[in-house]
């Protein structure tokens, strides 16, 4: 892989991270900050979109997938939010944020792959 391609993908990852932040702020305004709905929305839409890209445009998977969608979605914040929810006594919300998101993310990724392959 060329260095230029890596730099382009990294720049798009930055763009994705900026979009994630804006979505998170917007969702928190509507849904409140008790549960991390914003990051949930980002991670689920990103998992679906990556499935579609890998299925339909494997050649663009590095730049758009690993780059843009890799920066758009995040794992570290979800782990920290899950620990914080558990410590706040919000046990059901904590499990939903960890395992519910994982299950939904994998199912949406599979749906995205199937749709992408059919395109």
């Amino acid at each position: 892989m060329s260095l230029i391609l890596l730099l382009v993908a990294a720049a798009l990852g930055g763009l994705g991270a900026g979009v994630r932040y804006l979505v998170d702020v917007a969702v928190a305004q509507v849904a409140g900050a008790r549960f991390p709905w914003g990051v949930m929305l980002v991670n689920l839409t990103g998992s679906f979109a990556l499935g579609v890209i890998v299925g339909a445009l494997p050649g663009a998977a590095f730049v758009l997938g690993a780059g843009f969608l890799g920066g758009y979605t995040t794992f570290s914040t979800t782990m920290l939010d899950t620990v914080a929810l558990w410590r706040d006594g919000e046990r059901a919300a904590s499990v939903a944020n960890a395992m519910g998101m994982l299950l939904a993310g994998v199912l949406l990724a599979a749906a995205g792959l199937a749709i992408g392959a059919a395109l």
């Binding site: 892989m1 890596l6 730099l7 993908a9 990294a10 720049a11 798009l12 990852g13 930055g14 763009l15 994705g16 991270a17 900026g18 994630r20 932040y21 804006l22 702020v25 980002v42 991670n43 990103g46 998992s47 979109a49 990556l50 499935g51 890998v54 997938g65 690993a66 780059g67 969608l69 890799g70 920066g71 758009y72 979605t73 995040t74 794992f75 570290s76 914040t77 979800t78 782990m79 920290l80 899950t82 620990v83 960890a98 395992m99 998101m101 994982l102 993310g105 994998v106 949406l108 990724a109 599979a110 995205g112 792959l113």
Partner: protein
């Protein structure tokens, strides 16, 4: 929050996110897939969760430094989409390994975040 503040913060997150994404992609070049498991993604995710735990116990939620390093750099370094798609791809070959990779990532990530929070609180002499 004013539009100007929001835009400034989004740009701060983007700058960090580009660095984090670049580091994750570089790690992917160095560490290849192993037995179908995207090892680089696993390493980035668990290490990123540990570092975010440390950061979160040291820096308040909305400071510029936290936005740049946490939401930006570590948010971009770690990824959820590659975990979900990686696990799905692996499922078609070896379902047990796929389940182990997906659940293992989350279990290790949670342990790493909790450890990071604890390490961050410890006073350094």
């Amino acid at each position: 929050m004013s539009a100007r503040t929001l835009l400034r913060r989004a740009m701060l997150v983007s700058a960090g996110g580009a660095l984090g994404t670049g580091a994750r992609l570089a790690l992917g070049v160095i560490v290849p897939e192993s037995a179908g498991i995207p090892l680089a993604v696993l390493i980035a995710n668990v290490a990123g969760a540990l570092l975010l735990g440390i950061l979160a116990s040291r820096l308040p939620g909305s400071s510029d430094a936290r936005l740049f390093l946490g939401t930006g750099v570590l948010g971009g370094f770690t990824t959820y989409s590659a975990l979900a798609v990686g696990a799905t791809g692996l499922w078609m070959q070896t379902p047990a390994l796929a389940a182990g990779y997906a659940v293992g990532s989350v279990v290790l990530g949670l342990a790493a975040a909790a450890l990071g929070l604890r390490l961050g609180r410890r006073r350094v002499a």
